[in-house]
Structure formats: C-alpha cells, structure tokens
C-alpha cells in the first residue's frame, strides 16, 4: 500500500467507527461558531478607518504620508526617493507616480515576463508599488501580485519600500479584507505589517532584519 493510501486509511479509521462518522457527532455537538464581527463599525475608506490604520502603522514603525491627489503623490515619491540611485517598479504602476523623480534616480522595470535576478534587485535602492488593500485594525497592507504590485521578489530585496494605499481600499476589520481577497485566493499574497522585525532576542521587538528595513506608506485619496 502506498504511503498516501495507508495514511488516508488510518485517518479514516480514526474518524469512522462502525459506520459512525465523527463528523456527524461534531456537527451536532459543536457546530462551527461564527459569532465574531465580520464587519467593522467604520466603513471602507472612512476617516475613522484611516485614523486607526495610521495609528497602527506608526506603532509598528512604518512612516506614513498623505497625498490628496496624484500630483501630491508624485511629489512625495520624488522627495522620499531623492537619495535613491534606483527604484524598481512593477509593470502596471501608474506612470504619473514616478513623474517627479529626480534625474539621479533610475527606474528599473520588472515583470513576470522580464524578471530582474535577486542579485540585480540587491543593487536596487528602493521599490515603489501599489497595494490590494489595507486592514485598519491590524495595520496590515496586502499585496496580491497584480500588475501594479508586481512579483514578490521586488518588494523583498530592496531595502526601502514605498507602498501606496488608496484610501478607498482601507477596510476596518480582517474579515472584510479576507472577503475581498477571497475573490482571487490563488494569487501569491504578501501581508505586510510594518517593516521587517524580530522578537527573537529576549522577546523584545527590533525593526529591520531581512526584509526592507524602511517602509513608507503613502495614503492616496
């Protein structure tokens, strides 16, 4: 018998006893309980939701900026990347976002069809991406690999990540976010809550380990 068939047989024997399926007993005695909040009190994109998000982001040492318009955004990006020699961008990043970069900042393009190697990305100073959504309650930004967010490697290797979150994509609670993400569950996702950190030394949090050590978040809208 293959290991697969053997394990499945053992697992079946463990939960089915004389034709009685454990699942039936569990369904009767302990049905799945979903009494938790599936929506928050603040609507997506509301001032209250954004205020909570900002509070959480700052708490985890992300640096938060506001941009009312695309022009504001481009100006902020230009300022943040003034000292960067290069910035990598995903294939469908709005061109206007990089319109105010200084001449000294080279734009490096990356896509699934035209990939920069890890070694190449290691030579790039920064990365600029959009995001799928953000969760106010937990200060979490989710990237799902869409063309304005790019491959996972580009937001990982460069040491500085400038991430744009559209305010209408800010939801209050995690269940609201998961419901949105469930539309494309098989996309490779990265949930980001602050810059990389570790608590491995005496359980005290230290920011900045292997991932980008600096995370700028620009709230657009």
């Amino acid at each position: 018998m293959s290991a697969r068939d053997d394990i499945l047989a053992r697992v079946r024997a463990a939960v089915i006893n004389d034709g009685a399926h454990l699942g039936d007993a569990v369904a009767e005695q302990a049905p799945v309980s979903r009494g938790y909040r599936t929506t928050g009190e603040h609507s997506p994109g509301s001032a209250e939701a954004i205020e909570i998000l900002v509070d959480r982001l700052v708490d985890y040492r992300a640096i938060v900026h506001r941009a009312a318009t695309t022009a504001d955004l481009a100006r902020t990006v230009g300022e943040l990347l003034a000292d960067a020699r290069s910035v990598v961008v995903p294939p469908a990043l709005p061109a206007a976002w990089t319109s105010a970069l200084t001449a000294g900042t080279a734009v490096v393009h990356d896509s699934r069809d035209d990939r920069r190697t890890a070694a190449e990305l290691d030579q790039v100073d920064a990365v600029l991406t959009a995001s799928r959504l953000a969760v106010a309650d937990t200060g979490t930004i989710v990237l799902d690999g869409a063309d304005d967010q790019g491959r996972r490697a580009i937001t990982l290797v460069p040491d500085l990540h400038v991430c744009v979150v559209r305010t209408e994509h800010v939801v209050h609670t995690l269940p609201e976010a998961v419901t949105i993400l469930a539309a494309h569950p098989t996309r490779p996702q990265t949930w980001i809550s602050g810059p990389s950190a570790t608590s491995d030394i005496e359980l005290s949090r230290v920011e900045g380990v292997h991932g980008p050590r600096t995370l700028h978040v620009i709230l657009l809208g």
């Binding site: 053997d6 697992v11 454990l22 890890a118 998961v178 490779p188 005496e202 292997h210």
Partner: protein, 552 residues
C-alpha cells in the same frame, strides 16, 4: 511508571547518545560565553531524562531562570495588551475551536481536497508515514536538484523529524535562517520554545555565540539586539540571494484553494519562499483549515497569541506555482508521524487542534522555571506535555515521556490563553488517569499507602492508635513545628515540601471533650456508644481545647 504523591517514580531513564556534528556549527563543544548545550538527540520527541530529573537540573541554572523570567514576562504583557483590544476575542476563540474540531472530524476528505487543489496549481504532493519517510522524500528531492545547500524557514515539523541531521548525513547542509533558529544551530543546541527556539539565551550569550561560531561576525559586535539582528542580516544575505532550494513548514493549508500560509517576522520566510527555484514544504496532516475565508479567524488568533502583535510583519500565502513569480517547482510533503494514531484518541485529537502559537508556554509557571529542554521534546510546555506522548505513543513503563503529563500544576492558565481553547489541564488529568489505571493491580507505593490507610480507617480503635502515633511527628518536627526531612518513602514528600506536625489533640478528641462538657443531648451519647473504641477523654478542660484549635 507509577506515581507517588503526584510525582512519577520511575528513575534511570537512558540518555540518548549524541549524534555528533551539526551542519553550520564548526564545533560541538560549548563556547566560552555560554553553557548548557543540549546535544542533538536521535529522537527529537524523546530525549534526556524524565521530566522531574531534567527539571531539577534546569532549576539549578540561575541564568536560564533569569532569561526565561524576563522573556516570558515581556511576552505575557504584550499578549494581554493586544488581546484586550479585541472586543470579540472569545467569539474568535470559539470559532477557532469549532473549526478545528470540524477539521479533525473531516480530515480524510479535507486532505484529499487539499491534494487535488495543490496538484491542480502545479504543486507535487508527497505523503510520509513517519520521520524516516519524510526525510527520505526531502533528501531525494534536494538531490534531484543537484544542490548541496538548502535554506530553511523555521519549522517545528522539520525539527520533529530531525530533517537537518538527516540531510547532513547525505551531504546536504541546511542553513536555518530564522534568527532564533540560527542561534540554536550555531550553538549546536536544541530549541527550547515553539516560537522562539533560543528563548533560553540572553543577548550577551547570543553575542558570544555569534562571535565564536558565525565566522563573519564583526569583531566589535556589541550585545545590542539591533546590532545582533544586523549581524544576522549580513551573515545570511548572500545565502538568500544564491539559494536554489528552500525548505519550509506551514502554519496553515487551505483545503478549498490549496493555499499554503507561512507567518513570520523577519523576512527570512519571504526570502526562502520567494527567491529559490525549488520550494519543499513539510507539514503535519493536522494543519488544515477548510476554507480560505477561515483565515480571518486564524490570522486574528495566531499573531496576537504568539508574538503579542496585532499582526506579524510578514505573512506569505501561495498556491502551487505562480508562473514567473517565486519558485517554479513546489513540493508539499504531508506528514503523519503519529498523528493518525493521535486522531483516533479523544485526548490526542484535542491536542491536534494546536496551531503552535506558544501562548501556553509563556504563561506556564512550570515552563517559566524549568525551560523547554526539561521536557525532552521539540514540543515543550503545556501543549508539549500533551502532544509529545500522543505523537510518540508510550514505549512502555520506562518511557521518559510518561512523566510529561505530570509537568504541570494544573493551574489552568494555558487553557485561558489558548486561542483554539484546548483544555490542556483536563487532557493532562486524563493522561495521568490512564497512567494510574495501567498500574492498577500492580504493587505500587501509592497502592500500599492506600491499603494501609484503609486498614487503619476501617476501625475507630485503629484510627485512634494511629492518631496517638502521630505524636511521633511532633518529636521529628522539633520546635519548628515542621518536618523537613524524612527517610524513604517519606522523602518523596519532604524532598519537595515540608510536612507540618500533627497537632497535640486530634479533632476527634476535641469533639469528644467539647460535647462531653457542653451537651446532654442523648444523640451525643448514642454516637459515642456507636463508636465504643473511639471516645476521647471526657475530662479535658477548655484551655487545652483552645490550644489545639491553633493549627500552626
């Protein structure tokens, strides 16, 4: 093994031999700045002495106790703060608990569903009955790539199967990339905590380990946590950028989509899951959740319970292979290794609900004092005390794992914090009861003591004599009123705690005095006629009674 006064009595468990060198560590002897190496055991779920013996040794290590007290009190406060923020925490725990119960009861179907979905997205699913099979599968997969080095994301299950050692025997070096795992690997040590394997090390010990073993640590390295973290970043950077094969565990596997989740902080997980060409993920078959939507429950419960954060810095979710993004070859190894047997048992099934958050370790008064190594398993602490013997099964009366259910005061703190509401104290009591039941009919110290008590208590006359013999305790106790040392078998008690001396006058004597002096109720006389051997002296005066009332 039997018990006496709540302590396991089996002694002399064999210590498993050290298997020698460990990849990544230049030597095997303890360096100058740290101590207490635990040699690599052959059986990661069963090593060292019985819990009482190992605990006794650990308690003598004051540095260890200081480190643990500091770390666990820090994390307890953080957890309490972020859990307190969540108004529906109890509802989330109920959801987590009931979803896991559902998973266990429906595991055959969910496993097949997961396999189907991973395969449909370009992943390859392997099944391993035990550690040896899993190690062989992983070794063969790595060899097929032609690589001799792999990078690893921290994973309990690969610790459980001793994967690094198995790879080393085949000439493959596995590099741990999680900071705490790196510390443990460089020190050639064993993990002592589910989440923070190097929790038993303080910053200055970590500095010493890095300076001695890392090879490229800056010579002016201080013990500031930030500097230590930067040293690890520099040390591992080249490895990450050049690695072709990575090995990970999984926090969750979503049956209805085939999605895998790894929850981490440092970015080492993302490096391993994203940059290499081949990814091999090993997971226990119990790590399933039924639907993608269920992530809303477990991603709310896990980070707050484990690191005391609202959300951990990075969570990676992937489904099979994504063309052009991340590893283009993905293997998922589904491991049984005792789980199907545990599933057939009520206690074992409940223990399989565990999502490895480690909150129960951090609140446990026993864990805080003895540390993880005393449990002799890669799964220490309260959940380890339940899970380890369930996964291994007992090899008989001399199995050191039989002592694990006694590694608890049953205070219940672990149940209070468990995000999936595993009633650990009740499970421990069940396991203790089984142990005692096994010993029924055998001559044990406990049985002998109970027989003697039953003989004495069967007749009031005998009981009175025994009470009078209690006067001996006053002699032993001397002026302190406590007995601090008795010969065997009384030493089983006095080794751990004092025994108060018996009072001068027993309750029965006091009762007889009191009622002879104040009552003329015929019932009192009837009672004394029913117990012809039992009455005390009716003439004792009240002063004496009051003195005895003072139970020191």
């Amino acid at each position: 093994m039997s018990t006496f006064l709540g302590f396991p009595t089996r002694r002399g468990a064999k210590t498993l031999p050290d298997d020698g060198a460990h990849p990544g560590a230049p030597g095997t002897s303890a360096g100058p700045g740290w101590a207490d190496d635990v040699p690599h055991p052959e059986a990661p779920l069963r090593w060292g002495a019985t819990f009482p013996e190992a605990a006794k040794q650990a308690l003598g290590n004051t540095q260890l106790r200081r480190n643990l007290a500091h770390a666990t009190s820090t994390i307890r406060a953080k957890r309490a703060a972020v859990v307190g923020e969540v108004p529906d925490w109890e509802e989330l725990r109920d959801a987590g608990s009931t979803i896991k119960a559902h998973v266990m009861s429906d595991l055959p179907r969910l496993l097949e569903e997961l396999e189907r979905n991973v395969t449909a997205r370009g992943g390859v699913v392997h099944w391993a009955r035990d550690a040896a099979e899993a190690n062989q599968i992983v070794t063969d997969l790595v060899k097929a790539t032609g690589e001799t080095e792999v990078v690893k994301v921290k994973s309990m299950v690969t610790q459980e199967i001793g994967l690094n050692e198995a790879l080393a025997e085949e000439g493959i070096a596995a590099f741990e990339t999680d900071l705490a795992e790196l510390i443990v690997q460089l020190a050639d040590d064993m993990p002592s905590h589910i989440l923070v394997p190097a929790i038993h090390r303080n910053r200055s010990e970590i500095r010493e380990i890095f300076l001695e073993r890392m090879g490229d640590a800056p010579p002016d390295l201080t013990d500031a946590p930030r500097e230590l973290a930067m040293a690890a970043r520099a040390h591992l950077r080249r490895k990450f950028l050049s690695a072709k094969v990575a090995i990970s565990g999984a926090n969750f596997a979503v049956a209805d989509t085939g999605t895998l989740a790894v929850v981490e902080s440092e970015g080492n997980g993302r490096m391993c899951l994203t940059l290499p060409e081949t990814l091999i993920t090993v997971m226990g078959i119990e790590k399933l959740i039924p639907t993608y939507q269920d992530l809303e429950v477990f991603m709310a419960l896990l980070p707050r319970s484990s690191t005391g954060e609202r959300m951990n810095p990075y969570t990676s979710l992937w489904t099979g292979v994504t063309p052009g993004d991340g590893p283009q070859e993905f293997h998922l190894v589904l491991l049984d290794n005792g789980r199907s047997k545990a599933l057939a048992d009520d206690v074992g099934r409940a223990a399989l609900h565990c999502i490895r958050c480690s909150a129960c370790l951090n609140v446990c008064p026993v864990y805080e004092r003895v540390g993880g190594h005393a449990y002799g398993s890669v799964y220490p602490g309260p959940i380890g005390a339940v899970l380890t013997p369930q996964l291994t099964g007992s090899t008989g009366r001399s199995d050191p794992n039989n002592s694990l259910p006694y590694a608890s005061t049953l205070c219940g703190a672990c149940y209070d914090v468990c995000p999936v509401k595993i009633d650990i104290p009740s499970l421990l009591v069940h396991l203790r009861a089984r142990e005692v039941d096994q010993d029924r009919g055998r001559p044990t110290a406990w049985g002998a003591a109970m027989k003697a008590a039953s003989f004495v208590m069967a007749r009031p006359g005998r009981f009175e004599l025994a009470e009078k013999a209690g006067g001996v305790t006053r002699v032993l106790g001397g002026s302190k009123g406590r007995i601090t040392s008795l010969p065997f078998p009384g030493s089983k008690w006095t080794d751990a705690r004092d025994l108060p001396v018996l009072p001068k006058q027993s309750f029965r004597e006091w009762w007889a005095d009191e009622h002879a002096a104040t009552e003329t109720d015929p019932r009192g006389e009837r009672r004394s006629s029913e117990a012809p051997d039992g009455g005390g002296s009716p003439s004792a005066d009240r002063t004496d009674t009051e003195t005895t009332g003072d139970a020191r």
